[in-house]
Symmetry: C3
Subunit: 346 residues, 3 copies
C-alpha cells in the first residue's frame, strides 16, 4: 500500500523536509532500507546507521534532522509516528467473512456474518462472536463466551468457559483463557479440588501473548482492563485484576487474587505473590519478586545480575557467612567500648 | 441444582443454625451473595464482609458463628466444606457419550462407548480411552496412550506418546504430556540427540494445568503420583518422579531425573535442579532454587523480595563490595590484636 | 530392530569384549536391562548398578570394562555411542506419505508428495512443505511459511507467519513460532501497537521444545542458527539471534534484539535482557539473570540456592541491614585512626 511522503506528513502531523511526491511502500531498519522504504531514528545507538541510510525517508526528531542524508519526516516522537505509519503501510490481512467447511460451530452459537471462522474451529452453542472478528485455525471457544467485535483469536488458542473478550483484542496462538484456577484444599493429606465457577472479563484493545494463561475466577471474575498488553508465557491466576493500560513482559506471573493498578509495567520473569495490591504507575524490574502491597508509584527491583561463576560463588559464600561478620564487628565494638572505659578509668 | 440447608447439613456433617427448609442454588462471595446463595468465612481478612452478608447461609467455624447475621452451617473446616458443597451445587457438565462427526479416531483405537469425544480430536490406533472420559475439542492422543476412566482432557491438550493417565484426572488446555525430554550429547561442538523412548505414568485424581509440559522419560518413565496438583506453565522434565499428593504452583520447573517426595508443595516460579532427591513434606517458597538433596521435611526459601530501585541498587552494591568489607574488618581485628599485645607488652 | 553386538561394534567403532553373535533389541537402564538389551555406563554414580547388571552388553570406557559382569562395547564416549546406537535400535516412526482426509490444505499450498499431513492440519495457500516432512495433528501453518525437508512438526504446534524452518528440525507440540513480538509504544498513557512485520529464520537440525515461543522480528527476522536446541516453555523475543549449536534449557527467556553466540548453554529459568550481546561459548547457570554484554567465554552464575526458611530469613535481614554494618565498620575505623593519632600525639 504505497503512500507519498506528502500524504504521510499530512496524515500523521509530521513536518516533511524532502520531495512530497516520493512514495514509500514499506518500512525497514536504517541499515536495510532501500529507496522505496521508510525508516525511523529513535535510539541514539543507531546514529551511525542514520548517517549512511539509503531509505526514501526517515522519521526523526527535529534535532537529528540535519544528520540524515535523505528526506526526513520530523516528529516529536519518531517511534510512535513509525508505529502508526507502519500500521498504515502494513495493515493486517483483511477479515474475509465466512465459515470454513472444516469448522464445527454448534447450532445455537451466535456468529456474526461478518466474522471469519477458520478450519478446525470449535464454538459452543452458548457462545457468540461479534462483527469483523477473525478466528484462526484450531481455536476452541467453549461455553458462555463472547468475542467482541473486530477481535482476533489466533491459531489454537482456547477460550475455555465464561470468557468475555472486548473489542479489537488480539489473542495470540495457544493462549488459554478461562481454565480452572489452582484451588485446592487439604483434607487428611490429600487435595480436594475447589470448584472454579467464575469467569474472565477482558476489556477492549487488549493483547494477550502466545502460550499465556489467564485462569477463570474461583467465584467472581478474573479481570483484565482496557488496553492491557500481555506478552508470551505469562500466568494470570484466578481472581486477579489488572488495571487498564498495564503491560506485562514474558514469563511473568501474577498469583491469585492480586490487584494490579493502571499503567503498571512488569519486566520479564517478574512475579507477584497472591492477595496483595499494587497501586497505579508501578514499574517492576526483571526477575523481581514482589511480596507486599505497593502503595507508592515508582520503580521496584529485586534481582542481582549474574557474573563469572568464581566471583559469584565467593559473594554467595560471603553472604552465607554474614552472621559471622556481624559477630566480629560486634566484638570489635565491645572491645572499643572497653578500651574507652579503660581509658576513662585510667 | 438447589439444595435445602437441612439436606446440606446432613450430607456434609455441619451443624445448622437456621431454617432447614431454606434452599440455596449456588455459591457466592460474602459480599456478593444474595438470598439464594451460600457463602463461607475462612479468611479473617473478610470479617467485615461476614458481618453484613446477605447470603442465605454462611459456612463458618463455631467461634465465628455469632458474628454472622444470617443462617450458619458450622464446620471445623469451612473452606473444605465449601469445596465439597460447591462441587454439589456446581457439578461439572455431564459427559454426553458419543463421538463428534469431526473427530478423527484411527481404526483400532479403543474408545469406551460412554466417553465423549469432541470435534477435531485425533486418537491414534494404538491408544485407548476409558469409561466416562471427556475429550475436549482439538485434543491429540498419540500412540500407545491410555486415558483412565472419568478423566477429562480439555481443549487442544496433547498426549504425545506412551502416556498412561489414571482415573478421574483433569488435563487443562494446551498441556503437553509425553513429548521428548531434553537429551543431547556433544560431539565435536555439535549436539547429537539422545533418543527419548520412555513414557509418562500419571496416577489417579491428578490435575495438570494449562500449558504445562511433562516430558517422557529418556529410557524408563516419568512418574506423577496419585492426587498430585500441577498448576499452569510448569515444566516437569524427563525421568522426574513426583510423589503422591504433592502440589506445584505456576511456572515452577523440576529438572531431569529429580525425585520429589509425597505431600510436597512448591510455590510459583520455584525451580529444582536435576538428579537430586527431595524428601516427603517439603515446602519450597516462591522463586526459590533448590540445588541439593533435601532430607528433612520443612519450609525452604531462597528469594529476596524486591523494593524501591534506589534502595535495592545500594544493597546490590554493598553485596558486590562485601569482600572489601571483610578485609576492613580483618584489618581492624589485626590492629586490635596488636593493640592488645602492645598493652600487654607495655 | 535387533542388531548383533558384532554389527554394532563395527558400525559404531567400539571394541567388543564378548560374543559378537549375541543380539540386542532395545536399550535399557543398567538396573532394568534384560538379556536382549543394551545399556551404558557413563555416570560414576551408577557404578553399583553396573556391577550387577543383567544387560546383554554395556557401553563403557576402557577403564570401567573390568567391572562389568557382562559383554562390553568399549568407547571413549559411552553416552555418545549410546545416543547413536539407541537411534539405530529405536528409529522414529517412518513418515507415511499422504494427506489425512481431515486436513485442510489451502489450494496453492505446495506440499511435497512424500510428506505426511495428519488430521486437522491447516496449511495456508502461500506456504510450502518439503520432502519427507511429518506434520502432526492439529498443526497450523500460516502464510508465507516453509518447512524444510525431513522436519517434524508435532501436534498442535503453530507456525504463525513468515517462518522458514530448515531441514531435519523437530518442533514439539504446542510450540508457537512467528507470533507478534511485544512491540508497544506509549501515547498519552495508552499503548499503541508497533506492527510486527519480520519473520523467523530457523536453521537445519534445530529442535524446539513443547510450548516454547519464538516471536517474529519487528522489521527484520528473528534468527535461530543450525543445530540449536531449545527445551520447553522458552521465550525467544523478537529480533533475537541465537548462534549455531547453542542450547537453552526449560523456562529460560531471551529478551528482544539480544544476540547470543555459538555453542552457548543456558540452564533452566535463566534470563537475558534485551539489546545485549553474548559471545560464543558462554555458559549461564540456572535462574541467572544476565544484564550486560558478555565478551569473554566462560561460566556465569547469579542465583543463590534456597535453604531452611529461618536461616534464609536471617540472611535476608542481614542483607537488608548491610548499610548499618558498613557504617559500624566505618565508625570503628574512625575510632582506630583517632586512637592512632592519640597514641602518636601522646
Amino acid at each position: 500500500m504505497a503512500r507519498s511522503l506528502g500524504e504521510l506528513a499530512a496524515q500523521f502531523g509530521c513536518e516533511l523536509v524532502g520531495d512530497p511526491q516520493v512514495s514509500v511502500e514499506s518500512v525497514a531498519t536504517l541499515s536495510n532500507a532501500g529507496t522505496s522504504q521508510l525508516s525511523f531514528f529513535a535510539n541514539p545507538g543507531y546514529r551511525d546507521q542514520l548517517q549512511v541510510t539509503r531509505a526514501a525517508a526517515v522519521l526523526v526528531r527535529e534535532e537529528d534532522a540535519e544528520e540524515c542524508p535523505v528526506a526526513v519526516l520530523v516528529s516529536d516522537d519518531p517511534y510512535l509516528a513509525y508505529a502508526r505509519i507502519a500500521a498504515e503501510l502494513h495493515p493486517p490481512p483483511a477479515v474475509i467473512p465466512g465459515v470454513h467447511d472444516a469448522a464445527s460451530i454448534d447450532a445455537g452459537a451466535n456468529v456474526d456474518q461478518s466474522a471469519q471462522i477458520s478450519a478446525n474451529v470449535s464454538i459452543d452453542a452458548s457462545s457468540s462472536v461479534g462483527a469483523g472478528v477473525f478466528i484462526g485455525p484450531g481455536v476452541v471457544i467453549g461455553p458462555k463466551c463472547h468475542v467482541g467485535s473486530h477481535s482476533q483469536i489466533m491459531a489454537n488458542a482456547t477460550l475455555v468457559e465464561n470468557v468475555v473478550l472486548g473489542e479489537r483484542c488480539i489473542v495470540h496462538p495457544n493462549a488459554v483463557i478461562g481454565s480452572d484456577g489452582f484451588g485446592n484444599v487439604q483434607s487428611q493429606g490429600e487435595w480436594v479440588k475447589v470448584p472454579q465457577i467464575g469467569g474472565v472479563r477482558i476489556g477492549n484493545d487488549v493483547e494477550i501473548g502466545a502460550n499465556t494463561t489467564i485462569d477463570r475466577g474461583s467465584i467472581d471474575n478474573t479481570i483484565v482492563g482496557d488496553g492491557v498488553r500481555l506478552d508470551n508465557l505469562i500466568q494470570i491466576a484466578h481472581n486477579v485484576v489488572i488495571g487498564a493500560h498495564s503491560a506485562i513482559a514474558a514469563q511473568a506471573g501474577i498469583a491469585g487474587s492480586t490487584i494490579i493498578g493502571e499503567r503498571c509495567m512488569f519486566a520479564g520473569q517478574s512475579g507477584v505473590v497472591g492477595h496483595i495490591r499494587i497501586c497505579d504507575d508501578v514499574i517492576v524490574g526483571g526477575a523481581t519478586v514482589i511480596t507486599k502491597n505497593i502503595d507508592e508509584p515508582g520503580f521496584y527491583a529485586g534481582s542481582i545480575p549474574g557474573e563469572k561463576v568464581r566471583d559469584w560463588k565467593r559473594k554467595v559464600a560471603r553472604f552465607r557467612r554474614m552472621d559471622d561478620l556481624v559477630k566480629r564487628v560486634s566484638e570489635l565494638e565491645e572491645r572499643a567500648k572497653k578500651d574507652l572505659s579503660d581509658d576513662n578509668g585510667s
